[in-house]
């Protein structure tokens, strides 16, 4: 059983923007068991095993004999996905699809740290990729914004509460907060020291993305804040 147990253990496909996923550098497993799910925790506390993103496939690149790399771009940045020999259907899709094309991507969140780098990169191991239309992309932007704004609101309350770690997690358990957030937010505070400046920047990013779908803006500003800005001192 995974930590959020409950009926049906299939991991929910999380919605988040590429810019925030790109800022993630923490991944962990609930246990040492081989089958235990692996999670990437983002700076606003999204605990992501599986994610679902819709964007524009802008590039497909051969990275080695077996693998293709695709960039799926949303209004804030790019999700990078690698399809190798164990993802034959997704590999075939990337191989035959001519960018730019709207695509829906679902798969497992991953982090990796190249040996010659001190940066942690994120990527998606695809479980499905398919061609979609512009409306599907726009609907996804709205739903990603909804989930992101909800997460930020819960995160801000958690910061205000002054509780940290297990105490915070225990406090969440008495509420109706999504168990995956209840696990992710304390870890995000500990790892990133996420502060109000970053929360506000991600909030602005989400609102701007929705404004773009509403036809009120041409472009979405970049996410330049660092997670720890304005954070609780620890």
């Amino acid at each position: 059983m995974s930590a959020d147990g409950g009926p049906g253990n299939r991991e929910v496909a999380r919605r988040l923007f590429a810019a925030e996923f790109d800022d993630a550098s923490l991944s962990y497993s609930e246990s040492d068991e081989e089958r235990a799910p692996n999670y990437v925790v983002t700076p606003t506390g999204a605990r992501v095993n599986r994610l679902f993103a819709v964007g524009v496939l802008t590039e497909v690149e051969q990275v080695n004999e077996d693998s293709l790399r695709g960039r799926v771009v949303d209004p804030t940045g790019a999700f990078v996905t690698y399809a190798g020999q164990y993802q034959p259907d997704e590999h075939a899709f990337l191989n035959r699809t001519e960018p730019p094309t709207f695509v829906a991507l679902s798969g497992k969140a991953r982090t990796f740290e190249p040996e010659d780098s001190d940066r942690v990169f994120t990527s998606v191991r695809p479980e499905s990729i398919n061609e979609v239309d512009a409306d599907t992309r726009d609907r996804w932007v709205v739903s990603a914004a909804e989930r992101t704004l909800y997460r930020i609101a819960i995160f801000a309350e958690a910061l205000d509460s002054g509780l940290r770690g297990d105490d915070l997690r225990a406090a969440f358990e008495t509420t109706s907060v999504d168990p995956s957030l209840a696990a992710g937010i304390p870890k995000a505070i500990e790892h990133y020291g996420t502060g109000t400046a970053y929360l506000e920047a991600v909030r602005e990013l989400a609102v701007e993305a929705v404004e773009q779908v509403a036809g009120e803006r041409d472009a979405v500003g970049a996410l330049e804040a660092e997670p720890g800005e304005g954070g609780p001192s620890n």
Binding site: G8, V12, V142, S143, A145, V207
Partner: protein, 426 residues
């Protein structure tokens, strides 16, 4: 049994020494006298005034009842009364259940014999036992209970009678009356507690919703398309949703005016629906993020209709499979996830062809999987709204869909709505 507790209570009520009371009680209990009888006897002995005096059971307002009380007297209005047969210690017993109220509150009751009161009556219930049921006090009316009809009406701020809309029914409700249309019904033979029994099961609906029902004593008035009044039914939980039970004690009456059945199902997030543990009729929206194995052109066992693989049924061994079309799609909205199961008709409309077309395609490709691949290419990534009945078990949540269609809401409108909700933008 906690004799001390009873002795304490009696002693303080009677204003006598506790040890003396306890000795009297224990003496009676040695003879297997029921505790209620024993207490009454001790009360009378210690100047309870031969009944009717200070030491008779406390007369209380309903709001003051707690599970701490043993025996009470209340003056109440009968709100509802339902009849049910239960098997108790190997015997079939007919019990009456329902709710009483006074102006301070309501309380449920179970009566182990027929006292003759009906909804609307004002009565004084003497010497009723109090037991706990799901954390609340409930009155138990047995052999030592007396019921007297009051001539003064007890005014209550509650509706009298069991009439309800389907949407208001909850598991545990007794003595309910609903006016419904029979959406579908079938006869079934089940292994009941007394061997094989014929029952009816199906779906009923009204303006507020649709629910499954079972008639344990088939009533001929219950036929598909007919509108009926079902009086004295009870409600149980079936896969997390209320289910209406019609019994030998229910009255079924055909209605002249047809009852209209609602077209819509409640919408909710997939996370909330899965947490609810199962819903009979619900609408869920999300993205199809995957089409699972076991979709497309499948084979079923001719004996049991279960999907089979490699011509082998788990129950019937090697069988000649029967072709069918089916889709198992993962629908996920970011709050929860479920498998939507689409039968042949819905699958055909997604696939854009019938069973023969699918067989042709499979033959041409020499691979049955091409059918599932075409279905996945059509569905995956897009947003859909599915309606049907959701069941949840340890393996996950499944929605058996009656309807499945693309979300056609304009994303620009959705974006404007969200901005308005946030109080930003135009």
């Amino acid at each position: 049994m906690d004799v001390d507790k009873h002795a304490d209570e009696l002693a303080s009520a009677l204003g006598v020494d506790k040890e003396e009371v306890k000795e009297d009680l224990e003496n009676l209990l040695q003879y297997s006298v029921p505790i209620d009888e024993a207490k009454q006897s001790v009360r009378r002995k210690h100047g309870g005034g031969g009944g009717g005096g200070d030491a008779t059971p406390e007369s209380l307002d309903v709001a003051d009842l707690t599970t701490e009380h043993d025996n009470v007297t209340v003056t109440v209005r009968v709100l509802t009364k339902g009849t049910r047969s239960i098997r108790y210690q190997g015997e079939d017993i007919t019990i009456r259940e329902g709710e009483f109220a006074d102006e301070t509150g309501t309380v449920s009751y179970t009566a182990w014999q027929e006292f003759g009161f009906e909804p609307g009556d004002s009565i004084t219930v003497g010497n009723a036992g109090v037991r706990e049921w799901e954390g609340h006090p409930e009155l138990n009316l047995g052999d030592s209970t007396s019921v007297a009809l009051e001539s003064d009406e007890v005014e209550v701020p509650y509706g009298i009678g069991g009439e309800r809309d389907l949407i208001d029914l909850e598991p545990g409700d007794r003595g309910r009356t609903v006016e419904v249309n029979v959406v579908e019904v079938e006869e079934r033979t089940i292994d009941g507690r007394d061997g094989e029994t014929e029952i009816l099961s199906g779906v009923i609906g009204d303006e507020t919703g649709r629910l499954p029902f079972t008639d344990w004593d088939p009533h001929p008035e219950i036929e598909t398309g007919e509108s009926v009044r079902l009086a004295d039914v009870y409600v149980r939980e079936y896969r997390g949703a209320p289910s209406v039970n019609v019994s030998e004690f229910s009255t079924v009456e055909a209605l002249d005016a047809p009852v209209t059945v609602t077209d819509s199902a409640p919408s909710m997030s997939i996370g909330d629906a899965v947490t609810a543990g199962g819903l009979f009729d619900v609408a869920l929206s999300g993205n199809v993020i995957e089409v699972r194995d076991g979709s497309g052109l499948i084979e079923r066992c001719p004996e049991c209709n279960r999907a089979i693989q490699n011509g082998e049924c788990r129950s019937h061994g090697d069988v000649e499979g029967v072709d069918d079309l089916r889709t198992k799609a993962i629908l996920d909205d970011g709050t929860g996830t479920c498998t939507v199961i689409l039968g042949r008709e819905l699958t055909e409309s997604i696939y854009g062809g019938d069973l023969d077309d699918a067989r042709d395609a499979a033959r041409e490709a020499m691979d049955r999987e091409v059918v599932a691949e075409d279905i996945a290419a059509e569905l995956v990534g897009d947003a859909y709204r599915a309606r049907g009945s959701l069941s949840v078990d340890e393996y996950g949540a499944n929605l058996n869909a009656d309807a499945f269609e693309p979300v056609d809401e304009d994303p620009e409108t959705a974006a404007r709505d969200l901005l308005a909700e946030l109080g930003v933008g135009a």
